[in-house]
Amino acid sequence: MRKLALSDEILLNIEKPARYIGGEVNSVMKDKDKVDVRFAMCFPDVYEIGMSHLGIQILYDMFNRREDTWCERVYSPWTDLDKVMRDQKIPLFALESQDPVKKFDFLGITIQFEMCYTNILQILELSHIPLHAAERTDADPVVIGGGPCSYNPEPLADFFDIFYIGEGETVYDELLDAYKEWKGSGKNRKEFLERAAEIEGLYVPQFYDAAYKEDGTLLSFTPNNAHAPARVKKQAVMEVTDSPYPMKPVVPFIKATQDRVVLEIQRGCIRGCRFCQAGMIYRPTRERNVETLKEYARAMLKNTGHEEISLSSLSSSDYSELKELVTFLIDEFKDKGINISLPSLRIDAFSLDVMSRVQDIRKSSLTFAPEAGSQRMRNVINKGLTEEDILEGAGQAFDGGWSKVKLYFMLGLPTETEVDMREIARLSDRVARRYYEIPKEQRNGKCQITASSSFFVPKPFTPFQWASMFSAEEYTRRASIVKEEFQAQLNRKSLKYNWHDAQTTVLEGVMARGDRRVGKVIEEAYRLGCLFDSWTECFHNELWMQAFENTGVDIDFYNLRQRGADELFPWDFIDIGVSRKFLYREWEKAIQGEVTPNCRMQCSGCGAASFGGGVCYEGKN
């Protein structure tokens, strides 16, 4: 029987002990003496969040297909266990073997959002691994980062040995093979990292030097080691249909946020919204074959016993075989008590018909993401959704019996005026008005329109990477203007408005476009006690502000400054295929309020065609 790293006394006195015991259905056990490489794969948040992440399930499956490798999972201990582990000096362990992470060959950390950075330091410290890559020895695991935030890895540069830039399916095998070769060779850690730096897509931060100008901006960013390339090329798997996909994903005992089979139907997005980082870094758009997806759905439902299946992509409506796939799922599984969940669908006659077949209209709500209230603003961000589309879609939905609508907006976008802000409330009201056009006896009571706004954070590798942000006070002021406008609307009793916290927005801004000097703020904030910053109950803005003060790092330099056309960015050494020239052209068009057609309408020459596949070559064979 498996022995646990934690005693009964500890497990019975913390929240949800099942987070730490492993042994779930489809988790992989191997004989540790019969593998060459032990890989601890970590999502630096609590188990229920981490277990919901598709990327880790893909890599877990891919690594464990190798006979010589055993990949196990690690998540952040919640604050109750964190304290116990520190008090009793219990090292952080992986779920499957319950062995200390410190004994592993690799610690891989996926970095999905900026507000998890202090959790990364927690993982390292609880594992008894030195926080700084420079202080690690041959006895420590190789710490490798990946995921969307590694497209600007610089704020975390000191803490990682390697960053993997791009999709994991391409060069991990090469890295693991190189590791095996190195392990028996008697060479030192630095020599292994030099070998890793030669693999396309891998970035070893300690082999690069950053120099700064007097005004604080980056002067140069150059390799200091002959093995490190000047530019690191993003990895993208071009044959998505043939790439590994987990037929037996791990099924948690406790309810995870995503408690369902997830079918990734495509990667990338043709739309080109200018605020969206995913839309740029995952170019070009690549679709999985629909027949393969049908087989996957059958096998995964059977192997997990899940009662729900969900499609995953940035914009499901753009998947060319959507109708075929959705019809199959309904015909095949609806009668077997399987729920079918269809996120990120454009609301039109087809999607409404499908939704009316898979959910209870009276209870479910429809979601639109206009992102901005005015048409001018939607043109700036290149969101190709018109007011007509929204009112038409909502109208059809109301006629079909729905009465709940959710609307998502962003505040603080470049060029935003007070009119644009107020339009958020007015557009929401026009949606409500459309509902009340239905004769009273035919409608289903009042409608509920819930509008939510988040504050816009400019991200690297988007046309808005040049944009300036605002202070927390200014964000709050903008939200209160919107709030006030909501109260002035005719249908205010049917409208609800929520907005996102402004303080974390400011921090996200610094982390998203920060350079190496931001690392010391993260470390100081962690030392002061910051952890689980994305959890409202754990977030302490005053500690973060203290950390900025203690380290002398200036928030305004990163957030309020308008970046110049020629400024060298900390992330410019990464080549994502999409050119900086294209992004700047898009930035200029944004200011003019000019839209750019999507990839299927017309190629805009972004540069992603250099990958030699996907939407760029559709119909060209």
């Binding site: 099942a18 779930e24 259905v25 016993g305 959910q359």
Partner: protein, 235 residues
């Protein structure tokens, strides 16, 4: 047709709570292709009911859930399929057909349960066996029973049906179910406090052994295991 599943819960799965065990079995039914019936409506759910939830930290050799089948299954074959899809910590012991009447579900007819209690950490005083025997020979054992809404004093002695010292462990047969229900940890807590044994000097492992229905008449108890009320299905 209705069927009753008996299973064991052991090892690290003692840290999985009752609701999660339910979720586990819902998914297990699908993985093992058990033809279980659903309720109607937009969000159909499996027709499944557990005899009695087992608390976090406890292990058991005799847990029960009743399900409704849309087609008969062969007992041996179904047990094999379910165990193939199980994980370490849960083992299906049997699946048996039970009568269709509503009042026969495990939850309704549950009357008693057996527990084995042993010292997990710390120790009991040397003469604990005598002290426990004295504790049990009392005519009544009055305790304050706390529920979510109220506190009331009850006599738990009549709810302890049988007891014995078994090696270094204590075996108890306790009232269970919706009428009277006694948890073994309440018995042990009361024993410690009556004998003035410090609470933090010892902790116990609780293991449920079996659950029973009462088929006796005229106030005479006749306990039979829930499993014995069902019949093997062979095809």
């Amino acid at each position: 047709m209705k069927a009753r599943i008996k299973f064991r819960k052991y090892g690290v799965l003692r840290f999985i709570g009752h609701l999660d065990v339910m979720r586990f079995f819902q998914k297990l039914m699908r993985r093992a292709d058990i033809p279980i019936a659903f309720t109607g409506g937009y969000s159909p759910h499996m027709i499944m009911s557990f005899a009695s939830p087992l608390g976090i930290g406890l292990t058991s050799d005799g847990e029960y859930l009743d399900i409704e089948l849309t087609a008969p299954v062969d007992s041996r074959e179904a047990v094999r399929r379910m165990n193939e899809e199980c994980v370490e910590g849960i083992e299906v012991l049997s699946i048996r057909q039970i009568p269709d009447e509503k009042k026969t579900t495990g939850m309704t007819i549950l009357a008693a349960a057996d527990y084995l209690i042993s010292v997990k950490n710390g120790s009991l005083p040397e003469n604990w066996k005598n002290e426990f025997a004295d504790f049990m020979t009392q005519k009544e054992i009055r305790v304050i029973k706390q529920t979510k809404r109220s506190e009331r004093e009850v006599d738990i002695r009549p709810l302890i049906y049988r007891w014995k010292i078994q090696g270094e462990s204590i075996w108890l047969q306790l009232a269970a179910g919706s009428v009277d229900n006694l948890k073994p940890d309440l018995v042990m807590e009361t024993f410690l406090s009556v004998c003035a044994i410090p609470k933090d000097s010892v902790s116990f492992a609780y293991h449920r052994l079996e659950m029973y229905a009462d088929t006796g008449e005229a106030g005479k108890r006749n306990l039979v295991s829930l499993e014995s009320l069902g019949q093997e299905i062979s095809m």
